[in-house]
Structure formats: C-alpha cells, structure tokens
C-alpha cells in the first residue's frame, strides 16, 4: 500500500482542486483530508459523514475559585502567561502543560480533557474518505493529522486498497510534519511566483530532512514562465522530480463552483488532459513504486 501526500507550501495553489481530480483517476483508493485546519476537500467530494467521533487532543487548566487562596504560585510558574490577575486561566493562552495543576498547593486547579475537534469516516462517490474538523482556536492539529492518517491506513489495510491520497496542510510546521511521516512520496503543487518558489524550497528541505521522495507539479505555469523554469531548475538540483505543468485555467474554479472535479465538469478541457498526464507521471515515478524504508518521527 502506498500513500501520496499532496502539499503546497502556502496553500491556494490549487492543491485541493488537483487532489479531487486525482480521485477520479486513482483506482482502489482511500482519500484522507489532512488539512484539518481548513479542510476543503469535502466541498467537492461530498462525503456522507457516516461515522463521526470526537477528537480530544489535550487538556485545559481551570481554577476552582472556592479552593484557590490566591497565593500566586500558578502565575509565577506558568511559562505561557495564561493565568490572569484574578486567578482565571485564559483558555486561548493555556498550553495544557498541567504544571500549575500539579504544583498548586491547594489542588485548586482542575484539568479536564478538552474537545478539540471531530473526525469522520465517510463514503464518497470515489471511495472511502477520512477527514476531520479541528475546533476553532484549538491546538494539537498535528495529533489530529496523525489520527486521520492512521484511520485511513486502517481502512486501506482492511479493505485491501492500494493507495491513500492525502490532501496535506499548508506550511512546514507541526501539522505538515505529522502529515508526511512514513508517506511513500509527497507531491508539491507549486505556483510560478517568487513566493511559490520560496515556499517550495522550504517544503523541499523538510522532505529531505524526513527522507521522503518528493515530486513537484507547477500549476498556472503560464502565469510566469521565468519562475516556472526557476522552480524546475531548483527541483532538479535538489532531486525533486518534476511531474508536469498545468495551465492557468478558470475551468478549475468553474468546476469548484459546480462542486465537481475537473473530470466531472469538463474532462476534455486542456487542464483535464494535463492533470491526467501528471497523474500518469506520478504513477511511473520509480520511488513511488518502491517500498520506502523506515522514515521517521511518528511520535509527533
């Protein structure tokens, strides 16, 4: 079984539109939306939210005013300045480290588990899908990303699916690291802009660090041919495989407005043909066809 994680650096490069298009091309596949902070894939894939579960990703300290003597110890030890003057804890600042809970001399601080989001196992017209919704202003998105990927893997193993297609989160931080560990390969959707190049460099460095083979596809390449070439040169230099170019085309947006992927909306469009070519290239990418060795860091 293989897993392809689709990343974009900044986001907004067409990652989710392209992922949803791949859903039409891939056979025997499980979809996984790991962009738990701003999940969009469901807008096109229309999952049925068959099974929904709570995600309890952390704890939150709450001072019980009846027990608190106002000694000030918690204010002194909290490294996150979460305890406010009148001995109230700001839930937004609290990191959930529990140090105040353990060290309060009056045991006046409760530490309830906190509901941080929801995750779902669904059916879609393309196959099963695991996705999630992180609560607003919550942390531990990395944990939730790991969770949806594990569940997708379980479904894939049980149902003998060959492929997991994972729509990854933006950035290079904790959720992204959680989304690429042990993946077979990542695909970066880059835009031919100065920032697109810069973002790809950083994602590329991360994939190196975690030893995951990387490919890049340039979306809207005709927007700026110079930048497209620069991205391709940079990719070659750093051993990121270039798997294709896709034109700047409003058909993507039009199909999104119709809540369809490009193959359902207009399969014969230029973009449709290009996406298909990219997909074929990915499937023939050697490193995507060899089982990868033990890459790293599952404990995030």
């Amino acid at each position: 079984m293989r897993e392809l994680v689709i990343l974009s650096g900044k986001g907004g490069t067409g990652k989710t539109s392209i992922t949803s298009a791949f859903a039409s091309l891939a056979e025997n596949m499980v979809m996984c939306d790991a962009d738990v902070d701003a999940a969009d894939l469901h807008l096109i894939l229309k999952p049925d939210f068959k099974v929904s579960s709570n995600f309890k990703g952390g704890y939150e300290a709450v001072i019980n005013p009846d027990k608190c003597t106002g000694c000030g110890r918690c204010i002194e030890i909290c490294k996150f300045d979460a305890v406010k003057e009148l001995f109230e804890i700001d839930p937004i600042e609290c990191e959930g480290c529990g140090v105040c809970v353990d060290l309060c001399p009056e045991q006046a601080i409760d530490f309830p588990e906190k509901l941080c989001g929801q995750w779902y196992i669904s059916n879609t017209r393309f196959g099963p899908m695991v996705h999630a919704r992180l609560g607003i202003a919550q942390e531990n998105s990395g944990k939730l990303v790991s969770l949806v990927r594990q569940e997708a893997k379980k479904i894939a193993e049980k149902g003998n699916f060959d492929l997991i297609l994972t729509d990854g989160p933006p950035g290079i931080g904790c959720p992204v690291i959680a989304s690429i560990g042990q993946a077979t390969a990542i695909l970066i959707i880059a835009e031919p802009t100065v920032s697109g190049l810069h973002d790809m460099e950083r994602v590329g460095q991360l994939s190196k660090r975690f030893n995951i083979p990387a490919m890049v596809c340039i979306n809207k390449f005709d927007l700026n041919l110079d930048q497209t070439k620069k991205i391709e040169e940079f990719a070659k230099k750093t051993h990121i495989a270039v798997v294709g170019r896709i034109h700047f085309d409003r058909t993507f947006t039009e199909s999104m407005v119709q809540e369809k992927n490009i193959f359902e909306y207009n399969p014969d469009s230029q973009t449709g043909i290009e996406v298909r070519q990219v997909w074929d290239k990915i499937l023939s990418f050697p490193l995507f066809n060899t089982p990868v060795a033990n890459n790293i860091l599952q404990h995030l």
């Binding site: 650096g9 907004g12 353990d102 607003i136 998105s141 100065v194 975690f210 409003r250």
Partner: protein, 284 residues
C-alpha cells in the same frame, strides 16, 4: 493601531493586501510577517536586513551525577519529552514545549537548561517601512513563541500591519490576539467562502472589529457577498480578478507601484479601517 491581516486559507492574497496597504498609507508603519512557516512578505518589500536574532526555548538536560532517578520530571511532563530509565534519563527535544515543569519539580537540581533554536527573527527596513519577520527552523514545530517574539517589537505610536499565518489554530491566534482590527482576505469561490466562515468564527471568539477584502472578485460566484451581507461583515475593498495583477504578484512586484491607481484604493481601505477601529473604541 495594530491591523492583523488574516484568512482561513492560504493563497487568498493576504500578503498582497498587507504589503500594498503598508506601502500606501502616509503614516509611519511597521510590517510584521508572522507567517513564520512560509514568510513571503520580504519578497515584495525587499527590506534591507539590519539585524538577526534567534528565537530559543529552554529544554532540559539532565546532570546524571546529581540525578536520583526519582521520575518526578517524567511524571510532570505532559508531552512525553522525558523518559527516566534505570540509570539514564532521555530528553526528546522535539517533543518539549518548554513548560518548565521538569525544572520546577526536580528535587536534586539535576535538570539543567539547554538552549534549543526554534527559528530566527530578522529586522530591517524598506523605504521607510520598518520590517520584521520570523522564520521557523526546518523540522521545528513551536510557532507561537516566534510570533510572540516578533510582536514584542510592537511600537504603539505607529501603525503595525501583521501578516498572519493561514488557518484557525494556535499560530493564527497568536498573530491576531490583541489586534485592534482584523482584516480578512478571501476569494469569491466555494473554498474561499468555506474558509472565510471559519475565520469569521475565530475572529468573533476574539471579539475584535473586523472587515473583509474580496480578492480576485469576479472569479467565482456571489456567495461570499451574500454571506457577508447576512453576517453584517463589511466589505471594505474588492480587488478584481485580473491576470495583470497575478503577473505582478508572480514577479514579486508591488501592485501599487505597477498600477498606481491602487494606491488611493488602499488608502481608502486604511481610512475605513481607522473609522471602524474608532467606532469599536467608542462602543467599548
């Protein structure tokens, strides 16, 4: 006045709006790029970097000579960053949140502070704009401390424009918290609308005055406008979908420099923001 420019999803034009806004107003302004995972504002403002500093966080290192292997440090650590073995103590830096718990509880004074680098912060200036951005080290995960570091340089006497990271989780909150105004940027597509709704929810939790810029107007459909009306979310500016603008952006150029008519539009945007901030203050 602190204006935080945010969006539920990336790539909606946050950086375009924040950099061009900064370039357009006739007041002293500082730009903080707090999208520390993928900082891009410098590519447009081209600041001359004058100073660099690293952001560090203390992590434990155990003095095994003093350690009695009592496991108190391991028990207080909620992040699994310390494992006490029979004759050794392992510290997993990558898991440590620098909460200080192990330092507090060790009865033998065996926990020593070691520095770990989370990222760096650079200071510079660009044609009168003072500029600070942060950059998360590759494979590090602690974003909020870098944002807090950047924001510690807030000058209350001038305008501060913050380019916030995308999303709705802890890094975004660190970049929006205690701002005077949050400027949301979206595009009029189903994805844009969906992520805008999340961003609005986030802003409402923080209770900060806010308004909307629609970027690439004309691209998708009218649902963002219908939503804004229903939710009483003021649309402060619309930037049309225009390949010219996309090309300017792709080259790392500034819209207000290439298309000077935009300068006034961004000044208007700033005036509207100032009015809304004033109104918010009076209501308080």
């Amino acid at each position: 006045m602190i204006i935080s420019v945010a969006s539920g999803k990336g790539g909606t034009g946050k950086t375009t709006v924040s950099t061009n806004l900064a370039r357009s107003i006739d007041q002293k302004v500082q730009v903080f790029d707090c999208d520390v995972e993928e900082p891009d504002s410098h590519l447009f403002l081209n600041p001359v970097i004058e100073k660099k500093e690293s952001v560090i966080a203390p992590v434990p290192e155990i003095d095994l000579e003093k350690c009695s292997f009592c496991k108190k440090c391991m028990n207080i650590c909620r992040f699994g960053a310390i494992a006490v073995l029979k004759k050794d103590v392992l510290c997993f830096e990558n898991l440590c949140h620098s909460c200080g718990g192990c330092f507090e509880v060790c009865p033998e004074n065996a926990v020593m502070e070691k520095e770990r680098s989370l990222g760096e912060v650079e200071h510079g200036s660009s044609n009168g704009i003072s500029f600070i951005h942060g950059r998360l080290d590759i494979s590090q995960v602690m974003v909020p401390p870098i944002i807090k570091k950047i924001r510690s340089y807030t000058n209350p006497d001038i305008v501060t424009i913050i380019d916030a990271p995308p999303g709705t989780s802890c890094p975004v909150i660190a970049a929006m918290n205690k701002a005077d105004f949050i400027l949301l940027v979206t595009e009029p597509t189903p994805f844009g609308l969906h992520d805008l709704k999340l961003a609005v929810e986030t802003v409402r939790i923080l209770g900060i005055p806010h308004g909307l810029v629609i970027n690439r107007a004309g691209l998708g459909n009218d649902d963002v406008k219908i939503y804004s009306e229903k939710e009483n979310l003021p649309i402060l500016m619309e930037i049309p979908f225009d390949k010219k603008i996309a090309k300017i952006y792709s080259k790392g150029q500034m819209v207000v420099e290439q298309l000077p008519e935009y300068k006034e539009k961004f000044q208007n945007l700033f005036n509207k923001i100032s009015q809304l901030v004033e109104k918010g203050r009076q209501e308080k």
